[in-house]
Point group: C2
Chain length 298, copies 2
């Protein structure tokens, strides 16, 4: 007997209808029906009389319902008390430039739902810090992109995405289906700030011309404007949304980049573990929903 089954049971007992209870629980009937059968088996007692109109509680079911409600409230109190006793209840999340939407849109709300008592602060950092504030100790966990120097950090890959070269749509390359960086001499590349992690800059930029004195860019917007107005080139993930007038041409000789969660390797706090866990689940679910929308629909 697990709390999950009891939460389900309370919903069914109150709705007197497995289908409606399933709606309330945001799931479908079959698993709920089986969960109730299994709960009955665990308890060794019949909790419902099934009818074509729904279900009715048996005497044992009524007892179970009363006790289950109290038990679940007790469990909620346990959670609340432990949480209020725990010291730190704040989590700083770093987000690298273009990943902010993902963090703010789905992941942080999911985390807030699981941990309502925690104050979440999102720190959006610029292209000069691939650790998104981790190195500076500004944040506890970060959503960023590989590759960068990850000593002392742990990472979890959410997705890998090929990269492309961003050019104006009147650029000779604009019509190509794919290009190789090795065959593109003489371009002027957008540059990152000089003190930026080498692994990171080596990946996202090509060698600059010796006489190149461009101003480094710190944000996606600056980067795209440099391409649009100054005729420069930049590398970006293929899934990066691009304003009109620009196109991203896939680059064949650069390995894909990983969208990752990162956090300090030394003793991550429970909140960080939970964030990583929830973020991974949320992201997966988002992915699955996308697929289903594109394929399913009888």
């Amino acid at each position: 007997m697990e709390l999950r089954a009891l939460r389900y049971f309370v919903a069914v007992a109150e709705e007197r209808h497995i289908g409606r209870a399933a709606d309330r629980l945001r799931m479908t009937q079959p698993p709920l029906s089986r969960a109730m059968h299994r709960l009955e088996a665990d308890l060794g007692a019949t909790l419902f009389d099934r009818t074509p109109a729904g279900v009715e509680l048996t005497e044992a079911g009524r007892i179970a319902y009363e006790d289950a409600r109290v038990l679940l409230e007790h469990a909620d109190r346990l959670e609340a008390r432990v949480r209020s006793t725990a010291g730190r209840s704040t989590l700083a999340v770093g987000s690298l430039a273009d990943t902010a939407e993902l963090v703010g849109g789905r992941i942080v709300p999911a985390f807030r739902e699981a941990h309502p008592h925690v104050a979440v602060r999102v720190h959006e950092s610029d292209l000069g810090d691939p650790s998104a504030g981790l190195r500076a100790g500004l944040v506890d966990v970060a959503l960023t992109r590989l590759p960068f120097t990850d000593t002392g950090l742990r990472t979890h890959v959410l997705r890998t995405e090929p990269v492309g070269i961003v050019v104006r749509d009147d650029d000779p390359l604009a019509g190509e289906s794919a290009v190789r960086l090795a065959e593109l001499p003489g371009r002027r590349w957008v540059r990152l700030p000089p003190d930026t992690d080498r692994v990171w800059t080596d990946y996202w930029t090509a060698p600059a011309l010796p006489d190149d004195h461009q101003t480094p860019v710190r944000t996606i917007q600056e980067c795209l404007q440099a391409v649009l107005w100054n005729g420069m080139s930049a590398l970006a993930p293929l899934d990066q949304v691009i304003p009109a007038g620009l196109v991203t041409v896939p680059v064949a000789d650069r390995p894909p980049s990983g969208l990752v969660l990162a956090w300090p390797a030394a003793g991550p706090s429970p909140l960080v573990r939970s964030f990583v866990r929830l973020a991974a689940a949320t992201y997966r679910r988002r992915e699955a929903r996308g697929h289903r929308g594109a394929v399913g629909r009888t």
Copy 2:
């Protein structure tokens, strides 16, 4: 947060040592360690300070421990109350002749542990009733062997076992590694009672000689004695233990027989479901342990 995790947590909190708690819970350290990390993540609080000598409860851990103990007692009370409210608390288990040892040895004890309040009665039936009392309404669930007429019943195969012909060790066949029934004319076969299920008799016996008036056998013992003293032949599962003086020669042209659980198809009671579930798990575990014992051992 699930009750399982809280039960684990209480053990760790009391032992102040994950390894010892794991022993107490009959499991190994790693999954217990992870379960505690996950519980901490779910709660968003650190419950232990890990030290090289074991673990110490934090303040939040002490709160959690106190609450968890009460919560688990509450859960136990819920179970007890529901069970005492439920009507029927008796289960009749049918067992076909040679399967009694398996039922009594492991499965029924496992069920008794899960349902201490239920009075279990084992009904050992003879070879004339492959349903082991189900057809007669004597039992709620049965452990028996396929094949037999299973209309109105549901079955769950625990294992399939090839069959062989049982002969005296001075029989000309005794040395063969396998035989085909189609090539064995003129044998005198042990017979089952005349009113026995046809599917069952067709499987376990070969066509009798016209002038054969043997007394039918009702038990394994009678069957083996008929082979030993009257020079008859019988079919039996290869795993059937055989007394000295007899051997079982594999039969090539008979499909294997299934060791199965069977129960009425119409509205099985929660206890029956639970029995099937536990029996399947127990049997699986027994199997795995056997394999491990034969292979493992670093």
